[in-house]
Subunit: 404 residues, 4 copies
């Protein structure tokens, strides 16, 4: 057992830290202004500053860290974890800057693992190059999304084409006009066995019958900077049969393969959010004076800061262990650990953000600080890929079985 990072990770951490300090943190103020402007312009594209920083990062080879293949940085999950955490410290800017933002990362993984050569050439390459963006359309408004077998969108073969009908919502990134390609999950065979009914199919933006209805908001946020969360309608949308990914009936398996890394990446980045919040809370507590002394002198504020530190240290180690297990024993072997971090992360980081907000006073809830927006994002993680309660239930069932 050993708790230090390897040399490769440390070197990369140094580079990414330097880039964060030189390019990312100083850009946060401009980014905020540009996002405000985007509201006025009703724009959903990446703000210009993001494009500028992406260009610099790409030029320096700080790119595609998430990608374990030789197209990317070739990092293991364990090596990627602290890098991803670092990007979480500027969650709206940094993951996008390094082409490591969800949902593109998961989509690239899907195409990389299950795509045909043609699919890779047409969609994976521009995604890896950062030229386009993508979306993953699974959740549907009318069914409980906690069970992937519930999807109702229909995909019907008709000659050389598939015809798609149905609705989706909470499709992150879809409002961004640069989001050119959608991986859409639906049912090709409602008569097949429970986990063989679903397929994944590629739908290009602008295909006739494909409509973007509206952007879902989280609390009052549009999340324009990462392309919002769209509600979509598919009405007799026709795509070439070659757009199917991995074959009919493979949809559930692909979804499962995509979820493991997706979940842990969220958790890794969330650690960065927590660390930034602790830093902000500590600084604010030192600077803000009330009743004649810095609020850092107040016992309750200290209690929050101490608990935050104690919580985040524990959480990080579990995320790292899950990453290591995925590396050495596979995603399936890390199932319990991935569930555990999926459960622990939002509750922990939400708690820390709540306290950081409280230390900032009413301003902490406003546009003057990013804390409330981070809280909103973290709150969604208690639903993303199924509500916490579903995961706890499954984890407990496995635990009880161990002893039965």
């Amino acid at each position: 057992m050993h708790f230090g990072h390897d040399d490769k990770t440390n070197e990369l951490l140094a580079k990414v830290t330097a880039f964060m300090e030189a390019e990312v943190y100083p850009a946060e103020a401009v980014f905020k202004e540009q996002v405000e402007q985007a509201v006025a312009d009703d724009s959903w594209s990446f703000p210009p500053i993001v494009m500028e920083i992406r260009a610099k990062a790409k030029a320096q080879g700080l790119w595609n860290f998430f990608d374990p293949s030789d197209h990317g940085a070739g990092l293991t999950n364990l090596q990627y974890a602290p890098i991803a955490e670092l990007t979480g410290r500027s969650i709206q800017l940094a993951p996008a800057a390094f082409n490591c933002a969800a949902p593109d990362t998961g989509n690239m993984e899907v195409l990389s693992m299950f795509g045909t050569d043609e699919q890779k050439k047409t969609w994976l390459e521009p995604l890896l190059a950062g030229d386009i963006r993508s979306a993953f359309a699974m959740t549907e408004p009318q069914v409980a999304s906690s069970d992937a077998t519930n999807v109702e969108l229909s995909i019907v073969r008709d000659g050389d084409e598939y015809v798609i009908n149905g609705r989706k919502w909470w499709i992150t990134g879809a409002m961004n006009p640069d989001c050119k390609i959608f991986i859409v999950m639906g049912k090709t065979d409602p008569e097949a066995s429970r986990h063989r009914q679903q397929s994944m199919i590629l739908v290009e933006r602008g295909t006739p019958g494909f409509e973007i209805i509206r952007g879902m908001r989280v609390f009052g946020y549009h999340d324009r900077d990462h392309g919002g969360h769209a509600e979509l309608r598919f009405t007799d949308v026709r795509v070439p049969a070659s757009n199917i990914i991995g074959g009919e009936g493979e949809g559930f398996a692909i979804a499962q393969a995509r979820l493991g890394p997706g979940r842990i990446h969220h958790c890794m980045r969330s650690l960065g959010i927590a660390e930034r919040a602790i830093e902000m809370m500590s600084k604010r507590a030192s600077e803000r004076v009330a009743f004649g002394k810095p609020i850092a002198e107040q016992g309750v504020v200290r209690d929050w800061i101490a608990e935050s530190r104690v919580k985040v240290e524990q959480l990080r180690l579990l995320v790292l262990k899950a990453a290591w297990l995925m590396d050495v024993a596979g995603n399936k072997a890390a199932h319990t650990e991935i569930q555990a971090i999926k459960i622990a992360t939002p509750q922990t980081v939400e708690w820390i953000l709540d306290k950081a907000i409280q230390v900032h006073g009413a301003g902490g809830l406003s546009q003057d600080f990013p804390l409330a927006e981070w809280f909103a994002g973290m709150r969604t993680l208690r639903f993303a890929d199924g509500p916490d309660e579903v995961h706890k239930n499954a984890l407990a069932r496995a635990e009880i079985k161990k002893w039965a």
Copy 2:
């Protein structure tokens, strides 16, 4: 000791309940659309539907319930409490419909108690009539607002005028162009004793030098329906000397007089929010099916619903007792109880809203349900009139003293 409402209250409750069912709840959908449109139009006025319902309520004499005088409904705090709770069930519509919305209610109380005849004629009458709206400008961005003696805005006598310079923020209602009058707290005599330095002064919208800088947002919400929360700048703003309220040095005393009822009104309405959330959570749990059964069958969901009921019953009784104490022994005698409900209300109702959101799935965080917006509003109560921690500290000090 007796836990039933008196006849007057029960009769009024019946009338208000009927009005809510006939006019308010059915209007919620239209209201929501109009608020969405207001964003597009950058409007901050009351949505038209509110004006329509106000007219109907006023015509039926369902008006100014908050006002204990004979201008209003002549209710005690204890009688008003369940009415205010009822309006909290449709928090964005109902308080405004009955001319019982903050901050107007508190401002009318200030004018009623401390205003000159001329001030009453010019400002109180149109407020009571619902013809204009008002704001209360106390909080400042650069100082901890938890201590009312901290205000820095300067009010300097110059002949027959006062000259005002300074900044304010979180001035609720101020973005609404119908908000015609501002009660502004500032310092007239920085040399006076600590609680005699402050004065309240009336500033009319549009006075030269008075600027509305921007609207503060709460979790991304503009709160347009109740006039937002403005940041204001006063630059050599000149008002007639007769605009002072109650005389120089009275500002702190007036602020204190205003706070007691203001706090308890918030708490009363919050009970209505909690009740509506429990209702929504219960209904949703009955209707939504996951893994083959209504989620109302899940033990964890039941636990949330039971805890919600147990919490809200306790909270309501304490709010009612505080109201009763204010009636029979005065606001000062009810000090501890008012502090206690100020502390207990947001933490309790926030907890309930969090669970109601979780039962609604991701939709619970979106614009499709009001729960996230209510959560955001409730979260601000942990700061309003000073953060919880200040109140807990004071309450504990008094408790310890009892036994020393």
Copy 3:
């Protein structure tokens, strides 16, 4: 609505307060010594000091407050509530001193409501006089006691007698040799409908075949002062047929009738424990110095004290409301409120005791202070009459039904 006590209550409160100060609190130290001695002597009787105080209380007419009939103090539940709370402040001494201790109170109620004249003469009169003690034997080791229909002890008619076989545990008071009479719940007709199978029967201490196996301990406490918690075995125990209470098949109904008041009395007394703990915590915080200042100056300690006050005020009002509802509308109408206080009381008071212990340092866990023993007693309330979870489940079911 009115939150003040009536004159009768206030007069009685004054008398009981005076008695507590003159006789009860000063006796606590002696009581503790005598309980220690009881361990050495393996005695389970009331310590002598309790008998002395009982005699004084009885002589002053401070006796049987719990009894709403004209044998007792003739108090309503609402009038009894603050008196019971007062006795809770010295929970090991005061309820016994006034002949208001469980389980005797509930047993007297059963005999009073359902007993024959002979049963009343033989058992109720000496209990009201405080000459003997009693026990209520319902819980069984081998079945989940959360459902009263589960009892398995068999009661079989044989001529003029009933023959009893079975086991019971957690029979409070039974170790005390003065506990002369047991109300035993068992099955007389396993074939009857679910709530008609059970009966209650009187078994005198010393009846052949009746054995006291051992005392159950709670944490490490024997609870000798209130007669411990016994495990009992009944082997062909024969009692006269006239010992049945209320008739065969009435057991379940009697148990239900007994539970309502039993639960609320526990809650009333628990408020007194909480108040005493807050007082002790506040005093200790003032007196104990660490790192150069009283720990009352520490923000975290203040937070605990404030939260304790806020919690206990809310809890008390709900207990009082439940008592009032029982008085004006009957125990059935107060069902939800009784469930609510059954759920809220132990979790609230346990929380307060935990903090009071922490303020007392390690001594707070020891025999030098009563806090840990109170905590242990409060912890048992989360099981008594069924675990919290059962009550929450039922309460939630009713809440959901309201909205379905």
Copy 4:
């Protein structure tokens, strides 16, 4: 980074697991009976079964795992951690069985690091051999023990002797007659600088003037099996000058050196308690039927089990990381991590035990299961070596300083 144990650890784990299964778990029932008997006999010695198992363990070389030197097992902290956790699964039997029980381990470390050759020969050797037991006397009843500089017991040089006067309490192990040697902390020079006033001195049991006053109880438990917790009085106790450890003024430094490993050992063992509790809770939930189904089917019970697993996984990793840091960078470098586990362990394990008790019903609080006794022990850890609040305060101070 790597999360697997090394071969040495895995081999030892296998051996200790086998021994636990062959000797320890089967002996738990006998042990319990013997402890009950010890109460009757007022005995404080190790129960005979412990002596038998110790003999077997020693014979198999399963001995002194805690000791990193070549007298012991030569394990690093990281290697010892999972072994210690394993012994925590039978916390009353296993640590003693392997001569790894507190406070002997810490005392042996003190003698090993700071003792003279003669002290080692006289006291360390029989302790390592398991022939005697020892105690560490630091805490005093009259001062806040959270600050080691507070000790008041006086140690005065008088010729070739030291004369000791003062009081101590909570001296674990001291009631056991086999506890032959006491390491006593006191002041040799009240005029010296703050951390140079204290010294450690050896006092043999039976030295004139040395009295054992009484055993402190924890939640009613005597903790006879590990020698109780004594209150001691020293009245002109005279010991040879050679009994001083490390020299006058070294007391504070020795105390600090002892605390780091002491704390982490407690945390390691506590993980074993938590694991055993999860196992018991899971098994009981599978077996116990209520309302027609195993309580493992209840959502709330599953929620507890899932949360327990998620919590304990995080806690363990932080304990292991702290151990690793101590090994590679020294105890000082691991300061924050040791504080963090000191804070996190009791609150986590207490929570798990509370839920495990609830799943066991009232029996869970009684002598029929070890859960309540474990809870009591865990509760003391929130005070041991200073209350949590002191540690949180210090940890927060350091965190804030990082960002100032």
